[in-house]
Structures are given as structure tokens and as C-alpha cells.
Symmetry: C2
Subunit: 341 residues, 2 copies
DNA sequence: CTGAAAGCGCTTACAG
DNA sequence: CTGAAAGCGCTTACAG
């Protein structure tokens, strides 16, 4: 007794003694069909709760109205804000979304791409897995189906890429510290040459240069797998220096929070002795004490923008694949870790 | 130059001068096909990067191998841990997942269900939107397609439901406070009669009863839309009482963190004067100071279990819809907010 | 204004 | 062991 049979065009046609073609056209408001027939068909469709099999529809038209999304880790708050934007915008535009996680694993990422292709998604939105070395699978896919990258991108892949104004955002963050009167500003960044880390570092350097502050390698620290614990570790390193910094800019909130925890432990006044700035506006940034000054990244807008570009590429295919980088503006949110009321 | 044509069975058949049927069977390891032919077909398939159109496959077999997932809010960390479990397990079992958000809106939830049906998902996993009043759409759907509820469930819907041992978990949390020597234990719960809140409250009452501690209505507080700010507010209420509590059990971490913030502000020693326990083991619980004692809910396991039951129902359809509740075990994680080293 | 027919890519019962 | 044919639910060019 489980499944009720689904109502199909055939069933409607039979009931009304019309052809399947006519029923199909009536439902799709084809101009050829008389108003009387159209009404009649629609009335029955509503009555029987007819809903078209989108699968058959998509199968015929080679369009599924499904977008594939691949992210490294679905648990990152910033990622979920992007996903929210993606879900909302694509629903508004009549698309559904298949989400999967690459778990920051290149092999897994390729597998996901492959399966998504098999499912005939109309396009793909992706944030690259950390250390994506071989972009061949991706380049190959690009020949078959539109792709838009966001957040974790790569210049090796010629497609539309949605990022934030990384360099400028970092510049503003560091300049804020300078305006506070700080002149010995440490940075905690990633060892790996990731797009995000590099750009933020460039912003840091430009801010120092513009304000004639010398660059000191001793307070430029790098770490692999940047994290809260690494933030703690590197804060300890900075505290052990002869000339301590008077501010620390960490390129992720988690590292910045690690820094705060470490300073707290050694009773260093924040921001009195050392000011701290992070990057992301993660939820933790208001939970930690003192609350963290950080760069807000408008995730939902990034997601929305990515969907808009992707759907445009799907619905208006061009001869050449668009290669462009779209930068979304961010805001510095000043909180207690760099501000004394 | 955009799209390459996809390799189809037809193309393979033509190239090898075989029929489509034979190629199909060879690829599917049908016993009828000779080893020689099978090999030959597979070799070419690999060479041309043939990958079956899962859409056509699903269309024909009335099985899409897509599961629909609907959650109230994708940004909740606990939700993402469940999603991780769902994604991983369903991938392992050869299914893909379509995720959408009901935004805690019943109308939106019904729409999502409708669209998922149209896309022909094989089954649905759902956490109910807050205040889901009319379960008619859901009951109707249940007639057509397997459904498994998790986390936010309802006894009004006869299907498989995956929950945690809410009552017992709360019991253990409160008993932990009692063992600490606390006897005036406040609770912060929800006004609305949600499954989760009710069960946790029952656990609280049972723990007090078992230890002969009188129940005092003055320290049983309820709030709509439980949140960090509500936690703060209600902590203030508790602090203003003549007889202050010596422990506060909040049925969510966010409320518990609000409590900690409020106590901190009024320089109340935690756990010296008042111990605090939350529920969820959210990421914040280690960021807040002091770190929060809380109930760890194994999200990935919940997700995995939900998928296992759902796929079982899909692949082994029964006459009657299974009505059962599966309770997943939780652990109390003791941290500084209820423990002095 | 309406219908018969082909076809999207695949599987499978039926023949041989 | 292999093939021709039907069919999943829909749309659309072609006829009338």
C-alpha cells in the first residue's frame, strides 16, 4: 500500500479524452491551445495534484536545473553563510542544489566532479580543496559545463571566480591598527602559497609601506594548517621576543582567538599592551573575551553572486569561457580587542 | 566551442559495431555476454571516458539515487555535523544528496517537499521547522515516498525518527551538578512544547526527584526563541532572586553561554558560586571562558543512522510504514564551568 | 486548434 | 551469446 502511482500527462489525457501533446501544451500555456481546453486541462491537473516529472523534463531537454556545489568543509561557519546565499538565490531562480564535501581532498574532489557530471548538473560552484595541485580534471570539465569558483580559487583555472577584496581588507585592518598608534605589528599567515593568505599578506605589506613602517621578518610568522592551537603557539613565540609586537594581525579568526587565549594566559592586556585583529567575523569573534576585531565577509552575497554568474553562463552560453575575477567588498568590524571605550 | 558531446552507449555501439543492448549488458557485467566482448567494450568505454547518464538511468528505473534533505537552518554547527554524516554515508552507499533550508518556515518547508517530489528523490531526510502545525503535506508525502525525521521530530508523523536520548542526557547533566554538591539547580528551557525541550525538562525533574531535591517553580524559567541574549536576560532574573540558585542548567549551549556572560559581568564566580551546564557541545563551548560543561551530541552518527534507515526503507519497501524512534547515546563533557581542578 | 510520431539515453523481457 | 523493440514521461517539429 506504500506508493500511490504518480499522475502523468498520459493519465490527464485519458481522463479528458485529449492527446498527450495537447495536455502538455495546455499546461505550458502554448498559444495554439484554446482557452477552453487550457482551462479544462488546468482544472483537472490541479484537482489530481498533477506535478510534472522534472526528471523526464530535464532528461528530454538536456537541462536538469540542478547545480552542483563542492566545498572543502561544510562545517565552517563562513561556508554555511555562502551556502545560504547559494540556496536562496538558486531557489529563487528555479534551480536546485546538490551539495557535497571534498573534505579538502583532491582525489575526493575529482570524484565529486565526476559524479556531478554523471547526474547531469547544469553547472558547478566550487571552492577548491586545499593544495589542489592537478587542475586537469577541472580544466577538462570546464570544456563540458559552466564552472564558477568562489572563496578558494586558482589563477590556473580560466573561469569566473568570486572572491573578496582580500588585499584591501587586510590593508584596512592593518591601517586601523596603525591609526590606533601601533607601529610594531606582527602578522600570522599561512606557509602555503594560498590565494587568500598571499593577498592578505600583500595588504599587510602595503599598509606598512604607505605609513613608512619598516618590515621586520621576526614578527612575520607562518604556519601550515592555520588553527586556534597554532595561533596560541605563535603568540608564545611573539611574547618571547626581545622586542614584543604591540599588535597582532592573524589572517584567520581561529588563529586570532588562539592568540587572545595565549595572551590572556600570560596576563597580557588586550588591547592595552597588544591589540589583536582577525579575519572572517566568525561566530566565535563575539564569544571570545575580549571580543575580536575582524573582517566581515558577506558570505550570503558571495553565494548569491556566484549563482548569478553561473546561471547567466548556463542560460546564455558564449563561444569563449569567461575568465574574470569578481571581488566582493568586506567591512572591518571593530570590537574590544583593538579598541578601548 | 563550449560543450563536448557526451559519450553515449550509442556511440560505443557504433564504434564497435555492436548493438546498444550488448554494450549496455557488457558494461553491467551481465552473465550472458562473452568475456571477449565484455573486455572489448570496457576498454573502449574507459578510453573514451564513457560515464553513464545517471539521469536516463534513473528515469527508466524510477530510481534517481538522490536523497532530499531539509533542515531548518544550515548554519547551526550541530546541523552541519549531521549533514557531514549524511553526506558521507550516502556517498558510500551510492546516493547523492539535495540539501535545502526551510528557514524554520512551514510554508517554505512544504514547498521544498513538493519540489523534491517533483525531482523524484528516492527518499527524504528532514528536521522539522519550528512550530510545524499542519502535518498534512507531510502525511500525504509519506504515502508516496520514504521519510526519516531526525533531531526535530513529531509524534504526529508515523515514520522512522532518529533522536538523541534527550531525557537521559538531561538527567545525567543534572545529576552531575547534584554530585558536585549543588541542590538549588535552575533550568532554562523553551516555552513552546518542543520535543527536545520537553524531554530535557523531564530528565531534569526526574534527576531532582531521584535525589529528593524539591522542585521550585521560581527557578524554572522558560523562553521563546531560546538564544544567547535570552540566556543573559534570564540569568539576570535568577541573580535578582532572594535565594539564588547554585547551578544553572540551560537546555542549549547558546543560552548557557549567555548565562556565563551575564554572571561574568556581575562578577559571580563560575563554578564557585554558580555552576553552569549547557547542551550541544557547540564549538563555542570551548571558546567561552570558563569553558562550558555540556552534552555532546554525535551529529555524524545521527546523520549516518538516518541515512541507513532511509536507504533500507527505499531498497526494501514494506507493506506498512515503519513507525519507530531510534535514540542515539550522548556524552556529558565536563569542563571548567562545573568543575574546579 | 489538435494529434501522431520521434526522440532524449538507458534497461530488459522476448526472440533467435 | 547477441539483437530488435518497447518503454520510462515529457516536448516539439511536422501534418492536418
Amino acid at each position: 500500500m506504500n506508493k500511490k502511482p504518480n499522475v502523468t500527462l498520459k493519465a490527464l489525457a485519458k481522463e479528458l479524452d485529449l492527446s498527450i501533446s495537447t495536455v502538455s501544451r495546455a499546461l505550458n500555456d502554448h498559444p495554439d491551445i484554446s482557452t477552453a481546453t487550457r482551462e479544462k486541462v488546468k482544472r483537472l491537473a490541479t484537482k489530481l495534484h498533477y506535478s510534472p516529472n522534472l526528471f523526464a523534463k530535464g532528461f528530454r531537454s538536456h537541462r536538469t536545473h540542478i547545480l552542483g556545489v563542492i566545498v572543502p568543509n561544510i562545517s565552517h561557519y563562513f561556508t554555511t553563510t555562502i551556502l545560504k546565499g547559494i540556496l536562496e538565490e538558486s531557489e529563487n531562480l528555479g534551480y536546485r542544489v546538490i551539495i557535497s564535501e571534498s573534505r579538502n581532498d583532491e582525489i575526493q574532489q575529482s570524484k565529486m566532479l565526476e559524479t556531478m557530471m554523471q547526474f547531469g548538473v547544469d553547472g558547478i560552484l566550487m571552492a577548491l580543496a586545499r593544495k589542489t595541485k592537478s587542475v586537469n580534471t577541472i580544466l577538462d570539465m570546464l570544456q563540458r559545463i559552466p564552472l564558477v569558483l568562489f572563496d578558494k580559487v586558482s589563477s590556473k583555472i580560466p573561469c569566473t571566480q568570486i572572491v573578496i577584496n582580500e588585499e584591501e581588507a587586510a590593508y584596512n585592518a592593518v591601517e586601523h591598527l596603525i591609526n590606533l598608534g601601533r607601529s610594531r605589528i606582527a602578522i600570522i599567515k599561512e606557509t602555503e602559497r594560498s590565494f587568500n593568505s598571499e593577498k592578505r599578506f600583500e595588504g599587510y605589506l602595503r599598509a606598512l609601506r604607505d605609513h613608512n613602517i619598516p618590515v621586520d621578518d621576526k614578527i612575520i610568522l607562518s604556519t601550515e594548517d592555520i588553527s586556534l592551537d597554532k595561533g596560541k603557539m605563535l603568540a608564545n613565540v611573539l611574547l618571547s621576543l626581545k622586542e614584543r609586537p604591540d599588535a597582532i594581525f592573524a589572517i584567520t579568526d581561529s588563529a586570532a582567538i588562539g592568540v587572545i587565549k595565549a595572551l590572556h594566559k600570560f596576563k597580557v592586556a588586550i588591547p592595552g599592551e597588544i591589540a589583536v585583529v582577525g579575519f572572517s567575523n566568525s561566530l566565535h569573534s563575539t564569544i571570545v573575551h575580549p571580543s575580536l576585531t575582524t573582517v566581515d565577509q558577506p558570505g550570503a552575497l558571495i553565494g548569491k553572486t556566484a549563482v548569478d554568474y553561473l546561471i547567466d553562463e548556463i542560460e546564455n552560453p558564449k563561444e569563449d569561457i569567461a575568465t574574470r575575477t569578481v571581488a566582493i567588498k568586506t567591512n572591518l568590524i571593530v570590537r574590544d580587542s583593538s579598541f578601548m571605550p
